[in-house]
């Protein structure tokens, strides 16, 4: 199958005061469409940076990243923003729901960036919330939900625009075992049933088990499996 993500010779460093800290060192890899990939590695190995690069919220120092046929490194900032809006769904460790918006409104948020009508948006939001099993909680605010429920709302927000790619950064990192299992099952279902390509950063071996491929990063280098 045609790879949906193609990362080529990507390097990235951060500057702390006047010290250059290399994070990613000449990384190349591909992810086929419909794949469920887990990126693992110790803290500081650069896995989140790699995820951010693929998701288009950060830029590499060198190299190219092609996602679904678009060279995202070449995009200017505002084009990159619209690209993210249509192609990427984000799932964060701390859910990052907007506290002042209800579950419904949080899920609706990315749809505001599309040209959908209010009624169409409603359909999308309800569908997404049904998928994650929280349609009955859509009037609730984040603080009225449990951690697991918040993460499920966040997943609904990520899938509501039907993006090409889902990126998840430690999605179970802040959850108890039971909730974590729920989330992982949900992600697995999104991958199998809805054919979503998922890239997940995790250091939880149980989470990684659900993925089809596990790649290890260490000191900015991708380990050969």
């Amino acid at each position: 199958m045609e790879p949906i993500i193609r990362v080529q010779d990507v390097s990235k460093s951060y500057w702390r005061d006047s010290f250059e800290i290399p994070v990613l060192n000449n990384i190349s890899f591909e992810v086929p469409s419909g794949e469920f990939l887990a990126l693992m590695g110790p803290s500081g190995s650069g896995k989140t940076t790699l995820l951010n690069l693929i998701a288009g919220i950060d830029r590499p120092d060198r190299g190219t990243i092609n996602v679904a046929g678009t060279d995202i490194v070449a995009l200017n900032e505002s084009r990159l923003a619209s690209w993210r809006a249509t192609h990427v769904g984000f799932i964060f460790q701390f859910y990052n729901l907007i506290p002042v918006l209800t579950a419904y409104e949080n899920v609706e948020l990315p749809l505001l960036l599309t040209s959908l009508s209010k009624r169409e948006r409603r359909e999308h939001v309800e569908t997404a919330l049904t998928v994650v099993g929280l349609k009955d909680r859509m009037r609730h605010y984040p603080k009225q939900l449990s951690g697991g429920q918040e993460q499920r709302v966040a997943i609904a927000r990520a899938i509501t625009t039907d993006p090409t790619l889902l990126v998840a950064d430690e999605p179970t990192g802040d959850l108890d075992k039971h909730s974590a299992d729920e989330i992982l099952t949900l992600l697995e279902r999104l991958n199998l049933e809805f054919k979503k390509t998922i890239v997940m950063v995790t250091h939880d071996p149980r989470a990684a088990e659900k993925a089809h491929i596990i790649r290890h990063l260490d000191k900015g280098e991708l380990q050969q499996n």
Binding site: N52, I57, A81, F92, I98, E105, L109, P110, R157
Partner: protein
């Protein structure tokens, strides 16, 4: 696409204390700002209401006010022979030659202040139909009696009907109370012009006011007036315009000083709004990162925070204006620099004051919110998401 307004509104509601304090600061500034403008406008409105568009007032060109103007009787007679002066059915000109003097009376609140005493002629009520006798009777022509304006009666000791005011070596009995409809005449006492001239041993009026037969002939009248060589030192003005000019010094002083001060005040509140908005940005850094990651652009983030700041200041502005609008029920009095005498006036609100006060509030919001909003918009997504 912009970030929904409810996001902005609800965020204002989350930290009520800080939002409330900032709103209150802006409300205070707007209150003072609109109060000052209302005061200046009140002076202006009172004096504009004093004059009529149909009347013409003649004063000496160089005179700053009525009390420093002098028109002797011969000159007055020359003026009254000019064309276009309205006449009564009996053929008398509808005019009033008026000596204007200032006397001191004791304020009820303590201290002396100046009160204008105006000598009027027989046609005065035809000339100024908005002045109505409210209580008592009109003074008798040829006797030393006075009628007093409602604003004077309220504020000065010894100005009630039946009481006696002593000046120019004589006792003047107050026999009536008149209401001039909130105009400057309410802050005056009126008596017989001839009696006043006699008492002060004067032969000259201060000003002369008369009605034109049609209001639109003023330019024509003025041309005839200016042509008359004996009237070169004098100047006719539409009465309303004359009194409006009398308000300019006072209204100008109040507004300049007031605006100057409120602009400085506003710096305080603007900084308050800025501190609040910087804190809002700092507290919601992760949210900003998330919104940006979802695909919202920098300018949407900028707009959302700027709207929040503008909303904050608008609420403050509305609260300030709401309380300032109650000032309309208050009448205060102060020495009018133009006439050197006490003038009672009410705070007056106008659409211009409402809009400029709200604009002023929004300006504070804009200035206070701009830099923090720029900071929010410039946040780096990755760093923003990482901060907690």
């Amino acid at each position: 696409m912009k970030i929904p307004l409810k996001y902005t509104i609800r965020n204002l509601g989350t930290r009520r204390l800080t939002t409330g304090i900032t709103v209150l600061g802006i409300a205070l500034v707007v209150f003072v700002f609109s109060a000052v403008l209302m005061m200046a406008y009140g002076v202006q409105k009172t004096l504009i209401a004093t004059g009529s568009d149909e009347n013409v007032l003649v004063a000496r060109k160089a005179a700053n006010g009525e009390i420093s103007s002098i028109i002797d009787r011969q000159t007055a007679n020359v003026i009254l022979t000019l064309p276009h002066i309205a006449k009564t059915p009996e053929g008398k000109p509808i005019s009033s030659g008026e000596p204007v003097v200032i006397i001191n009376l004791n304020k009820l609140t303590g201290g002396l202040s100046n009160v204008t005493v105006r000598g009027v002629s027989q046609q005065v009520f035809t000339l100024r139909p908005h002045v109505k006798l409210k209580e008592g009777r009109m003074f008798n022509w040829g006797s030393r009696e006075l009628i007093t304006g409602v604003a004077i009666e309220k504020r000065f000791a010894g100005s009630k009907i039946g009481e006696v005011v002593r000046f120019a070596g004589d006792n003047w009995t107050i026999v009536g109370l008149f209401d001039a409809g909130g105009s400057g005449f309410d802050s005056e006492m009126w008596g017989d012009a001839d009696q006043l001239l006699d008492a002060f041993n004067r032969s000259a009026y201060s000003t002369i006011t008369f009605r034109l037969d049609q209001p639109e002939v003023f330019q024509e009248f003025k041309a005839a007036f200016d042509k008359e060589p004996r009237l070169q030192q004098f100047e006719p003005k539409i009465e309303r315009r004359y009194f409006e000019e009398q308000s300019e010094l006072m209204a100008g002083f109040i507004s300049i000083l007031g605006i100057f001060i409120t602009v400085i005040f506003s710096a305080g509140s603007t900084i308050g709004a800025m501190i609040t908005m910087y804190a809002a940005v700092a507290n919601r850094t992760v949210e900003v990162g998330t919104l940006r990651a979802l695909g919202f652009r920098r300018r949407s983030v900028l707009a959302a925070f700027l709207t929040e700041s503008l909303l904050l200041s608008l609420i403050g502005g509305l609260i300030g204006l709401f309380f300032a609008s109650f000032l309309q029920f208050f009448t205060i009095s102060t020495l009018n620099f133009g006439s050197f005498s006490e003038l009672a006036f009410s705070f007056a609100l106008s659409p211009t004051i409402v809009s400029s006060s709200l604009l002023f509030a929004l300006l504070m919001g804009l200035l206070g919110g701009f830099l923090p909003s720029v900071r929010a918009a410039r946040l780096n997504i990755v760093n923003a998401l990482r901060s907690s």
